[in-house]
């Protein structure tokens, strides 16, 4: 076994361990540790990805020395490694982009706590990505929830605590359902390792036994994860949670945490139940319909919103709808599109959140549109970045959003019954996206009348601008040379089977 195969385990452990270390360090050091850890994990993931691409097959790593079905396992394929790398990049950029806001929003004494939470979050995300064990997944889902909740409420104002409570409640409902579904699955198959469950499920299906409990179990797990990833209509907690937390938290939450759950769902679909079996159930139709509704209603709510952060948050609801629509198509192409959209949305949404904070900072901290008038002239980089993000969301070629739209549409065409519905909703949703994003873009480039904030300028420009630049580049890179990424996703999904 190659040394590189230890990397997944190392990266989980590293981030988990660094979290504990951070608690005794002063804030500055914690920050440094946090950065270093993220970079290290990212590097490891990159090396792992290269290694996997060169070997062309996934591997399974035993935790301890117990073979299946007793031991706990980690599994790494191209998709997992790629995802881990991507999560690290986004997380680093989000942290860097939001760093300047932290002192203002979080009391000094809690800074190292903040880094603990981020590290914990990273470790739980990595665990979700790599784990091959269902119950481990559950445990890390909970860890993820708790750290995410911490990230929301680290900014101690009434809104965030309330948002955190709501977030917790919905998450707990979700994880309760997930756990219950998982228990039923365990009951049916007698296994907790994904590969073993899949074999048993295949046998059960072949034998025609326990069909209903099986479906119930799958449905419970799906609904649980849907709630946690804020699929419409389970999105009530989302706008407040994303809208009022500190900016890095919002960026991370919207682009990574929900994506972690979605990735877990993909793993369950492929590794636990089996893609074909999953597609033969009616669950995908339900996901499809909810996805479509999410695309429309999320955007509609965003249009009505008068607060830029909440608007971006609602836009997430719509984008998550896209992803579930891809699931709901029940084809490989749809799944590829969804995974690509996970990446594209993560890159874009965090960019938008961070750009938005730059805009609100130069508008007296207000997020109301009326105060944002002309903000792009006061903070040029934020304006450019917000515009780029918006264009990507609307699906202008050259940006990543266009590719995911392209992939979704191409996938939709191949699905006989769902083609028209998805194409039309795709069109409408683009129109709606255009409406609320372009409204904002025009607003920030307007100078009609004297704004009370016209003299305000932005501090700490350099780091912030570089971060935004990287985000834009990431976006454009995804948009221009998408082919390698798509190939990687296809390869990774093939390894899942």
């Amino acid at each position: 076994m190659n040394f590189i195969c230890n990397f997944p385990f190392f990266s989980i452990l590293l981030s988990l361990f660094s979290g504990t270390v951070c608690s005794v360090l002063p804030a500055k050091a914690a920050k440094a540790v946090n950065r270093v850890v993220i970079i290290a994990v990212g590097l490891m993931s990159a090396v792992l990805l290269l290694y996997l691409l060169s070997t062309g097959e996934s591997f399974i790593y035993w935790m301890g020395h117990f073979p299946a079905p007793w031991g706990n396992e980690i599994r790494a394929g191209v998709l997992e490694a790629g995802m881990a790398l991507f999560f690290c990049i986004i997380m680093y950029l989000s942290m860097a982009g939001g760093a300047h806001k932290l002192p203002g929003e979080v009391v000094e004494s809690k800074h190292n706590l903040y880094y603990i939470l981020v590290n914990l979050l990273l470790s739980s995300l990595l665990a979700l990505v790599y784990t091959n064990d269902m119950f481990t997944a559950y445990v890390f889902v909970e860890i993820n929830t708790i750290s995410a909740c911490g990230l929301i409420m680290i900014r101690q104002v009434g809104r965030t605590i309330e948002a955190a409570v709501r977030y917790m409640i919905m998450s707990l409902l979700g994880s309760g359902l997930l756990l219950f579904g998982l228990c039923i699955m365990y009951d049916l198959t007698g296994h907790l390792l994904m590969s073993n469950i899949k074999e048993s499920v295949a046998q059960l299906i072949a034998a025609g036994e326990y069909q209903i409990p099986l479906i119930v179990s799958v449905a419970l797990m799906c609904i649980g994860l849907c709630i946690k990833s804020a699929l419409f209509p389970f999105h009530a907690w989302l706008p407040d949670a994303y809208g009022y937390s500190t900016v890095s938290s919002a960026a991370i939450l919207s682009s990574l945490v929900s994506k972690g759950y979605i990735f877990l769902l993909i793993k369950i679909i492929y590794r636990v139940i089996g893609f074909d079996i999953f597609n033969s159930t009616r669950i995908i139709d339900v996901l499809f319909v909810f996805g479509l509704m999410g695309m429309i209603f999320g955007s509609l709510s965003a249009i009505k919103e008068n607060d830029i952060r909440r608007m971006i948050a609602f836009s997430s609801v719509a984008q998550i709808g896209y992803i579930y629509m891809g699931f709901g198509m029940g084809t490989q192409a749809g799944m590829v599109a969804s995974v690509f959209h996970i990446l594209s949305h993560a890159a874009t949404k965090s960019l938008l959140f961070i750009a938005a904070i730059g805009l609100t900072d130069v508008s007296g901290g207000s997020r109301k549109f009326i105060d944002l008038t002309g903000a792009a002239y006061r903070n040029k980089w934020a304006g450019v970045a917000f515009t780029a993000g918006s264009l990507s969301m609307v699906g202008i070629p050259l940006f990543s959003g266009f590719i995911s739209k392209l992939l979704f549409a191409q996938a939709a065409v191949q699905v006989e019954g769902k083609m028209l519905a998805s194409l039309i909703v795709l069109g409408i949703s683009t129109v709606l996206n255009a409406i609320y994003f372009m409204k904002t873009v025009i607003r920030i480039y307007t100078t009609a009348g004297e704004s009370p904030y016209s003299g305000v300028t932005f501090r700490d420009m350099k780091a912030y601008a570089v971060t935004l630049l990287f985000f834009i580049l990431l976006n454009v890179a995804l948009g221009v040379s998408s082919q390698p990424v798509v190939n990687m996703i296809e390869q990774g999904l093939a390894m899942f089977a």
Partner: protein, 124 residues
């Protein structure tokens, strides 16, 4: 259906409990009651796991009399899962309770809707 339900009364009860807990967590406006609902829900799942792991006439998998045959003990994995789950749910409950306290000290109420109302009034 009827006889099956009766035979698997353990599962049935846990399902019912789960539903009760779930509904409470979802619909109660009082935060404490929500947390209680959460605990009921979690306990229902542990009950379910324990029920599944129990084999009639065997004892818990703790070696006390030097009996090492697996035949003597019930399946240990569900028990392990329950223990892990309890740890998780305890920590979650603790977090929820701490959040509740914070909210209560700020807004002097446990009613989540009222808190939302007050937040709206603050207009932030």
């Amino acid at each position: 259906m009827g006889p099956n339900l009766f035979t698997n009364y353990g599962e049935a009860v846990s399902a019912v409990l789960f539903c009760i807990g779930f509904t409470n967590l979802l619909l109660q406006t009082n935060l404490i009651k929500k947390i209680i609902g959460l605990n009921i829900m979690d306990s229902a799942i542990y009950l379910f796991l324990a029920e599944k792991g129990y084999i009639a006439g065997r004892v818990a998998p703790i070696v006390v009399n030097g009996v090492t045959s697996t035949e003597a003990y019930i399946n240990p994995i569900p028990s392990g899962l329950v223990l892990t789950g309890i740890v998780v749910s305890v920590s979650v409950t603790a977090l929820m309770l701490s959040l509740t306290i914070r909210l209560y000290t700020r807004y002097h109420t446990l009613n989540l809707d009222e808190i939302s109302m007050q937040l709206k009034k603050e207009g932030k």
